[in-house]
Symmetry: C2
Subunit: 443 residues, 2 copies
């Protein structure tokens, strides 16, 4: 019998260790995938792709003990060599190769050149060969930034006293928006996939006061736009003992401020690679729905067609307006009309045709919907009745209100949309590892 | 127009602030839910439930400006009063009440006394009224510990160079284990819910070298046991450039060591409340499958009925054996028979009837399955053919191997099972917020 005692240091070194300078002139062992080979005759540059980036290795005819003809792009290898400072190498260091050991070889040549700076494919081809296309360093950088956003969300909320929860994605049919649900059979009973953790996170406010979840949600919407997916990752939080929905907006602003700092600190390499300018999150303007509509109509000479909803073009113009008027990347649009918000939204006591709710627009695209919720049992029952809805299937949800709930509110952020805007893409599929849409169920 | 500038300090204080001692003798404002009221005549103890715990407030007839008869359990309130050191109060401090303001009131009395130390209900009743039962402080403590486990997993893996990924849960039917899949209709096409992120995390090893995901998985198994759920949270990682499956076990041990320290540091209150003794993770024995079977058969005079599989009772006895022989809480059982492992498991070159794989048992219960995977394209095709399987639906998965993959392996950890064992429960539903099983689709 043997004992496992934990992670021990590997013989192989990582790029950040080489860049520290401590290894200059020293012999190192490194592994990675052969990203590309540039054969210059006497020497060849073997570029290794590793998790931290690319590493320039120099093959020297006669010195490196290996036949270069035997080395294929997309092989994985382990090499030994000497670290040298070289100002023409990326980040100033390269490895002069002594030996190469092949760990694995591809069976075929790659279908397209993933080593190009920009992937030479259409989005469709990219998505059809997704797991290969993502090996391109700029493609994968987007998902490192996405990681930073989720980390920022969680770390910030932990620090604000939130508890992380995991709620079920399969459920019995509930009353919240029936048309957009995926249906499945659950041991001979009808079931649906949750379109949001809304009911569960509210229930958990009665337990932990403040909760969050980062998990997939499912929408069976027959949209085919650049900004919709049928499965996406939702960053959700819900908090009790609020003084108003302004507390929710303040918490989201805090998250954005924290995350921008986190990205600057830990994801600088990826931001630089993608040429990202981080947004201004010091102060985010908040404007009423009706006021925003009016301002945009006036400035851009646009007729208001539907006073109860914002069209995508109107959202874009609101983004443009606040960018032009006060350099804002984000805008909170508040007080959405009650008829366009779910039954659990708290109506504004000052004018119940509006709600104490908001959307957050990022360069004119909605990335968040949030607001204060109704916490009073009778008020909730009244609103359900007024809307002609049934309470069937909502007994457990309603019970938490029956047995007392604090004033509360929360929001949901679409991770892929937020990432898309951060990295400057205009199709949400670009920032989704394996998108699900009307036509795409694979890979 | 106004600006939102981030989170500002609230007027209300939290329990940890009161316990710091800085507020002794001072006037504070606090909010929370009325957990219970103990009326002693001249004074009454109003126990507030807040996210950080319970707070003893003292109502004094004539001094506190409020009619105690108006105060209901399960109301949420905001109070003002003076902090006093009081050794009989939990944690040594209490608040002498001046005023009480009711934020919300319940419509009905609670169906059972959630303020009891141990919830006076059966598990069935608990689950039927889940969102209410979880308001019990010991019930909710389990899920704080669960949070600590997930935090530990993520933070440790970030520090080891892993990238977090989000893979789709809806997919086309793939070849991995067809019987246990939930089926749904996806815009008039057949689809399934993923039973693990296995294929995706392997694909992503070709991109980031090391990846992890913490997300729900779905198993349509008709089990009805204390340790099975039909939806659970899986902690998955996959890492490339391994020297062998021992690297995976080392990484898991590192995670456990890190997490035990994290729990000791940040979740001490909850551990104490549940009387948890954290497991020994300094060194974890690793024993071969056949050897473990043999040892248990000898020591406990048990006949080996099936040489290719471990029965639950055998797993329990292996746990007992290593607890008795070397005080171990965990045991790695390695080299499972090939016929009991999926096609992508790497067979042991020394004896291909066994695999380079393992399970981790915690007090005799399997909480992890992992191992080295096949990374060679032809080897993978050969094994698929040998098993009489089809490659249909696996084209994208197989493509990553066609275009080169490093030696790699990984594992999946059942979060609810690990939490169950940590807190000393014996039914996985006790450590699942809203369980899904054969009979339970709600709440």
């Amino acid at each position: 019998m043997e004992y496992v005692t934990g992670v021990s240091k590997k013989e192989t070194v990582e790029i950040s260790e080489i860049l520290s300078g401590d290894f200059e002139g020293k012999q190192v062992k490194v592994n990675g995938a052969v990203h590309t080979i540039r054969d210059m005759g006497e020497v060849a540059f073997v570029i290794l792709r590793k998790r931290e980036g690319l590493l320039q290795c120099v093959f020297e005819e006669g010195k490196t003990k290996f036949d270069l003809k035997e080395l294929k792009e997309a092989s994985t290898i382990e090499v030994e060599g000497t670290v040298r400072a070289e100002h023409r190498a990326p980040n100033g260091f390269e490895v002069r190769l002594d030996t190469i050991r092949v760990l694995s070889e591809p069976a075929e040549q790659l279908p397209f050149a993933i080593s190009k700076w920009k992937l030479p494919t259409t989005l469709e081809t990219n998505l059809d060969h997704r797991a290969i296309a993502l090996r391109n360093v700029r493609e994968r950088a987007k998902f490192r930034i996405q990681e930073g956003v989720v980390r920022g969300f969680r770390d910030f909320l932990y620090s604000e006293g939130f508890t992380e929860i995991h709620t079920p994605k399969i459920g019995a049919k509930s009353a919240e928006g029936g048309a957009n649900l995926f249906r499945l059979e659950y041991f001979h009973r009808p079931a649906v996939l949750q379109q949001s953790p809304q009911f569960y996170k509210q229930m958990m406010v009665g337990v932990f006061d403040r909760v969050f979840e980062t998990a997939p949600v499912f929408r069976a919407e027959k949209h085919n736009t650049k900004r919709h997916l049928n499965e996406y990752t939702s960053l959700d939080f819900e908090m009790g003992y609020i003084d108003g929905f302004e507390d929710i907006m303040a918490m989201e602003t805090g998250f954005l401020q924290y995350t921008v700092k986190l990205l600057e600190r830990d994801y600088a390499k990826e931001l630089k690679m993608l040429g990202v300018t981080l947004p201004n999150v010091e102060q985010i303007p908040a404007v009423r729905f009706d006021e925003a509509k009016q301002k945009v109509a006036e400035k851009y000479h646009r007729q208001i067609r539907n006073p109860y909803d914002l069209e995508p073009e109107e959202e874009a113009l609101i983004g443009q307006y606040y960018k032009e008027e006060c350099g804002a990347d984000f805008v909170f649009v508040t007080h959405y009309p009650s008829k366009k918000r779910p039954f659990y939204a708290m109506d504004d006591p000052a004018d119940p045709t509006y709600t104490l709710s908001f959307d957050l627009l990022y360069h004119g695209l909605e990335i968040t919907t949030g607001g204060q919720r109704i916490h009073d049992y009778q008020m909730l029952l009244d609103k359900i009745e007024k809307r002609g809805m049934t309470t069937e299937g909502m007994e457990q949800y309603l019970a938490v209100f029956k047995y007392g709930m604090p004033p509360h509110g929360g929001l949901g952020i679409g991770l892929e949309r937020l990432t898309m805007k951060l990295v400057g893409e205009d199709n949400v599929r670009e920032t989704t590892l394996f998108p699900r849409d009307l036509s795409r169920l694979e890979p």
